[in-house]
Symmetry: D2
């Protein structure tokens, strides 16, 4: 099946980020978690080294039956039962019981998400640094230039481009720092077992979790199956990032108005009807992405109301919002870089 | 490029609806609009019949250069300039000027969306009717059975399954009527030209719009390029539909609790850790979709603040929200049908 | 206790609407419902005429103990139990049992809200008509004047003020019609009894509901205690109204930019620092109200997921959102009228 | 004018927090800022000590003309111009020019908000600590007791009350730490002058800002008039807090179901129709507040798109959302404390 909305993605999506969130990437991350869990369990003497090796061998040669995974996802609400069934068939006996031992679907899914987010954070940090560099470059060459300030949509008093560029820069700098901090607080293993209390690991849960974290180079945390504030906090940060980009987009669209003409955009968008138009497309899309992410952040916040030890409703709601927010944020940063390249200060 | 999130779609998506909103379907609808516009223009004597025939011939043999369309979308913020360039190259001279004559991108995009929505409405109405039928069937066989009512999460007094089923049914009946009404008020042509006043049609705009509506079997309306309340109103209805399904899902998840056991679900979801579980997956996903759509409805409402004669930001925001809402709503109805099939009243 | 946010209300509130939604207005409406319910019950022979007269007499002389009502609200989550206790003490025996007979709190609260909304609809319709009149006046005097159209934040082609004014007018006309339609579909009695099936009225529920509707001049409907789509639908319409006003506000703020100068606003807002400023305050507040209401509409949609026969959580969420939306909408219309009075087309 | 919605506030409001956000508190904070600004300006030799003393004297004896302030708010969109006019009339000449020198309305309003938030943070930290203490107490007495865990709304396996209580506790501990961190990053002075670049302070802006921060015991930061991510970040944290409380509320409402009976609530809410009911009102309101705040957080995120050097629309949107979120959060913590007092583990 061809991807069905390539056109909208070309405008407002992010191919690099979408790849990091694809089914392939997710299943690969889940397999890495299952393997590391077996190895961590062996590290702690809960299963044998041969059992861990058997799981690792199965993971290495595993090729998913995608239709089976999709059917399992629809049936069980999570893909892990089907994945484990398929994978277990590849584990040589008597080691099948060692696969997924003590774990529950959510352990695998949440930890896999963290692994995927490592790559996302890498991209975001690189793009934010790129944006800061471009803003610094503009400030160096044009920071002293005068710019008419506008407050409440009316001309106010002259200010400098340096002040304007600094006001774009500071939030991005804050967001870069916040991403760095979140690497330690958010990118942690999930290991709780069926009811989130590590009871299924028969007293070795904490040790296995620590070994799992070491093996996956993730942080360590108590089980967080039903306490989703770190996930929602990530969504909040994503909305702040795209919001800051939306502010830049709004400013540039306003400054590029023909009547204001404080900036010019090279390679603006064309019209099917008016040959003279040079539309600030990237600036406008930054505003749209900011507003879309703002709304999604509010929706993701709804997932804080998480019933009991695991809520299928609240968790599914995360899946319906967070990945889209990650892509939107990536697209914001991508388009922001492009927009600054187009920008000529007048 | 493979579709990258097949697994989530298997759980919470809707293949039939996604197909109606695919790039292929959208471009096909746009081509139908360009052709009908040429023919309507000929109907009104604004272009010659031979010109309209030349456009129609080009449309019939047209095969898009998808990469070119994607590049145009990214460049112009709308796909129509690139599409018209590609299509115009297929129109035999001297008729190229007749293609897209007087129109603007938004005329094509908005009208094409209406054509796509006709198919969506067909599906939704069929599914709503199916749901009503299943509820009627349940009422017939079990309406007189007693059911403990709960208010504020506490046991209240006995009521009947008939009353419960009626409370599920009435909103769906209302939504079905609302969809029918919206066929007349929402599914209308957009024809305004570059600035939305039909001035580009040199006095024949109203007549051409009427002919276009006739040829496409859509309603007639004044240009609505910057007055988006009908689009937002559709989003609101979609959220009401998925919200009503979410209410059913919430009820069923509660009634299926082991401790309440007022219903049983055949074929509930399995767990990777607890063999005894039979999870109300479809019910939970209905709740998640209701909440996702509720949030998206609020975001789409933000697009009401539409700058000037056409806002790239507000319009792009519609694209980032409405299609997802349509899919979510389709998935709600699909899963609702499946859930009622699973439902056994105890 | 003095109202604590008079300043913000002066800018973005609506005193007239707030009065219609005040505690006093709500309790008065509830008392009217209790009285009408007793009288309707007598109409149907379920209680005696003397009992109904005793209830009516108690209502007429009733003065609430407000502290007791507040304490009851905090205790019970609804004010009705405390109100009924206070009121019942004023009913002469042996008629106390006739008060609130068969009813539940929600019957009183929801029906009282409908009575309050009648007054709100009156105000909204009058203001919408006023806006339409002002727009018609502007179109008459200046509709033929040329105006530069802008699309995607860039100058497009000249259009006319007539087209611009029409694009502001049409949605308001639609909203006025929608309010009229909602008088019949939304403004209906709620009568269901404890579990919403009218079982507590021992076979006379339908007749009493009909008599109640007649006496209160409201529409008749089956119980809708847990099917809240009409309430949410009202919220959606409110957001459309304030959204349409926000679009007008956005346009005027853009057209009033010094560099664009297509309109001038008399009596713009002053600055504490820049004497030359004339800020488009009313236009900006219209945008803010539109965005606030858009968000609230999405939140209210979350209340569609209503557990069981009555959800305290979902119902309370309605109270936390809908009244604020009604006030925001009223403020939008109020400020829109003021803004059009300030507006001078250049 | 009496406060018009005392009843709803009694259920879901917070009198202590509302007082900290009242007009009186806000004007008092603004006066403190104006005074400290004059004193800081004298510290830096920008105005004379006698001028600062004259401003301080005026502040001390000032009694606002509230009607005038309200009229100014409606006219100017901010209260500061009217406030400064009233206050300036109390300053003895020749020192009137020293009042508000170099400042703009936003400097006063934003900094005053920070002063108000200090008190709010005090209350929130105290309540969070109280909640942690109560949870610790429960864990001490009942942590070892068995509790049936539920996942996806189905019985899973036994867990312990200790694990459940820990899952309620950890997010609250995180939020308490986050509030502490925000005292340093959020509670900072705003000083930028008319266009946010401190140009109006003629080279002494940085020094005056530092002195102002010292005098008000707030942090120091560059002007943040148009970079609102710290404000929005506060909103996000508030939604996380009320979201965590909503999760506790949802759990308790589920555990208190008659059929589950894992907890009992003393003093549950009564019904006007069913004498046997004991409704988990506080638990339900926690869920409603969580959902209301989630939605408001998304709406506040929309204010990130802030036009130019100061957006009246985006700033007003903050005022329409953030104070309500602060009250909702306070109410969440207040009700959470009450709910834990009611809670009896079975």
């Amino acid at each position: 099946m061809a991807d069905m909305n390539t056109l909208l993605h070309a405008l407002a999506g992010d191919a690099e980020i979408s790849l990091l969130l694809s089914d392939e990437a997710q299943i690969a991350a889940m397999l890495a978690v299952e393997r590391a869990l077996a190895e961590a369990s062996a590290d702690c003497g809960w299963i044998g080294d041969d059992a861990a090796a058997a799981v690792a061998a199965a993971v290495e040669e595993f090729a998913p039956d995608w239709d089976g995974l999709a059917a399992g996802m629809a049936q069980d609400g999570v893909v892990v039962p089907a994945l484990v069934r398929q994978l277990r068939a590849r584990v040589v006996e008597p080691h099948r019981v060692a696969l997924h031992k003590g774990a529950t679907s959510q352990d695998i899914i949440d930890t896999a998400l963290m692994l995927q987010l490592v790559g996302v954070f890498d991209v975001f940090e690189e793009r934010l640094s790129g944006l800061l560099g471009k803003l610094d470059g503009l400030a160096e060459t044009a920071g002293g230039r005068e710019l008419m300030a506008h407050t409440r949509m009316q001309m106010a008093l002259p200010t400098s481009w340096g002040a304007k560029l600094a006001s774009w820069r500071e939030p991005l700098q804050r967001h870069l720092r916040a991403l760095g901090a979140m690497r330690r607080t958010l990118l942690v293993v999930q290991l709780g077992g069926p009811v989130g209390d590590r009871g299924s690991f028969e007293g070795r849960g904490d040790a296995i979790a620590a070994a799992l974290a070491r093996r996956l180079d993730l942080g360590l945390a108590p089980p967080w199956q039903a306490t989703r504030d770190p996930i929602v906090g990530l969504g909040n940060l994503l909305a702040l990032i795209s919001g800051s980009m939306g502010k830049i987009g709004a400013d540039i669209a306003l400054l590029a108005q023909n009547e204001v003409a404080a900036v010019r955009l090279e390679g603006g968008g064309g019209s099917s009807a008016m040959a003279h138009k040079s539309n600030p497309v990237n600036a406008e899309v930054l505003v749209a992405l900011a507003r879309a992410n703002a709304g999604l952040a509010g929706t993701l916040q709804q997932a804080m109301v998480h019933e009991y030890e695991r809520s299928g409703a609240a968790w599914t709601l995360e899946w319906l919002t967070l990945p889209q927010m990650v892509v939107n944020t990536g697209a914001s940063l991508r388009l922001g870089l492009a927009l600054l390249d187009q920008l000529e200060l007048l």
